[in-house]
Structures are given as C-alpha cells and as structure tokens.
C-alpha cells in the first residue's frame, strides 16, 4: 500500500523532528517535508502534493483560519489537521469552519495521530462503539450543566484548574496533586490561588464546599473503558 504523504508545519524544531521520528517508527506514513512557516508550506505544497498537512495552531506570522483557507485553496484535496498544544474551543471551531478536518492536542498517542491521518485521507470506515450513545448523553448533560453555570464561578476555570479542584474534593494534598499531575508543588499552589480567586473562596474548605454545593463533583461521565473493549476503538 502506498504511504500517505504528510507535510508538517510547525516552527518548533523539536516538534517537527519528534513527529518525524515517531511517525517513521510506526510506518504507513511518509513525512515528506517539514516547514517552519505557512509561506514555506505554501511553496512546498505543489511540489510535494501531500495528502495531509499537520499545522501548528500557534504557527507565527499567519492567522490560523487564513492559513487553512490558503492551503485548501492551493490544493483542495489535501486535508488539514491542526495540532494544538493547548485546547482552544474558539480556534478549534474556526479551524473546522475554515476547512480543517481535525483538531488534536499534541500530546495524543502517536498511534491515534496516525489513525487520524489515515482516517481523514481515505474516508476509512470507523466502527461505531457501543459507548457512543452514552458519550453523547454525557456531553449533552455537560453542555446543559455548562450553560447553567456559565457566567458563574465554574466557567472561568481552566481545565487544569478543574482537575486540581476535583482532586481537592477527593481530599488530596498539594503534594499528592503535584505527584499525580506531574507538576511541582509550587505550580499546584499557584493554580490553587488562582482557583480561590476565580471562585471567590478564601480557603480549601470553602472551595471544596462550593464544588459539593454546586453538585459539580458528580459531573456527567466520559465513556467507560471496560465497555469500549480496550484501546483503539477505531476500526479499519
């Protein structure tokens, strides 16, 4: 089978080389070139004719949505997947609207990135896991919950702060949270100060009480791993 041709556009050398190394080890994907900027990618596009462009969300010197439109205008059949270091809902939607077919965080498993690349290029069929409906229900509940809470204290927290807050409700100490989340204790303390400021709590007890009072500790759930039948539910 012919390998899929991939062009990566990222100004960070380590990211480009890391992805090259990981994708080459896995096989099935041919990383045909690396570009450090959008203009460089646009120059390479016609010569290389890639199947997929992996584009850094924070590529300097170019608006992300505009970059996607330019790439798609040059080669409409080339698919674009955005690689993001941090999730940004607004930019994710803008990217998809501009013509990208995927938006993934840079810390996803390389196998899943490769599946994503394969999936977007040939319309590969994907199994419909039994847990999909459960997931949709969970998201529906979460959205309802978010809408109700938006404008109040919960909406202002980052996902990391939410994680820390959840750990606090479980009774974890700063040191335990730091260990679990691979952060320094100082960073955890800094996040906790930010949480207090955002939710208007004076101390840990008050913060945990607010979580429990709002029922947030019982958030809707993500899919159950046991029900999914193990890692990698995407079929071939």
């Amino acid at each position: 089978m012919e390998k899929l041709r991939v062009l990566i556009v990222d100004d960070t050398t380590l990211v480009r080389q890391g992805l090259r190394s990981l994708l080459e080890q896995r096989g099935g994907v041919d990383l045909v070139a690396e570009a450090r900027s959008v203009p460089e990618a646009l120059e390479l596009l016609h010569t290389l004719n890639p199947d997929v462009v992996l584009l850094d969300q924070d590529i300097p010197g170019f608006d992300l949505a505009e970059a996607i439109r330019r790439l798609k205008a040059e080669l409409p059949r080339t698919e674009v997947i955005i690689l993001a270091e941090w999730p940004d809902e607004k930019r994710a939607l803008e990217s998809l609207e501009a013509g990208a077919v995927g938006y993934v965080l840079k810390d996803i498993h390389i196998d899943n990135l490769a599946r994503a690349i394969e999936g977007v290029t040939n319309g590969r069929t994907i199994l419909h896991p039994r847990i999909a409906r459960q997931l949709v229900e969970s998201f529906r509940s979460l959205m309802r919950e978010r809408r109700e809470k938006e404008g109040t204290w919960l909406g202002g927290l980052t996902s990391r702060e939410l994680e820390i807050l959840l750990q606090m409700t479980k009774g974890a100490t700063d040191r335990e949270i730091a260990s679990k989340m691979f952060l320094s204790a100082t960073t955890v303390k800094s996040h906790i100060r930010s949480i207090y400021r955002k939710i208007g709590a004076r101390n840990r007890t008050q913060a945990v009480a607010l979580v429990l009072r709002n029922g947030w500790a019982n958030l809707p759930f993500s899919p159950t791993p046991s029900a999914s039948g193990g890692k990698g539910e995407a079929g071939r």
């Binding site: 993001a84 999730p87 995927g102 810390d107 977007v120 419909h128 997931l135 759930f221 899919p223 990698g232």
Partner: protein, 62 residues
Amino acid sequence: MTREHLVFVPESEWPDASRCPVGWTFAYQASLWTVKGVLLAQAPSGARGLLLIVGQEHEPAA
C-alpha cells in the same frame, strides 16, 4: 502510560454544533479523562460524524 480511546459520534447525535469538546475534562470512576482531539469522520453507514480521541489523565485513585 496514558490510555486513549477513539469514539465515533454521528453528526446527527451531536447535541450542539457550536461547541467543540477538545480539552474538556470529565470525571469517571475516580479518574479524569480529557478529549484530546476531534476529527470529522465517516461511519460504515456513510453517516458523517465526529471521531473523538479521549485520553485518561491519571490512573484511578487508590
């Protein structure tokens, strides 16, 4: 190692097209899970939908 799962959700079942779930964190069975990616994809039936990459952030708490 972080565990990840891929889940396909048909477009018709996605509750709100104006929301993108990447980065959302959920609690489940004393673990935290984050949506690490979303891809526009196609089911065997031909239905369009979202492929979600869901990663487990931590092992279940003791």
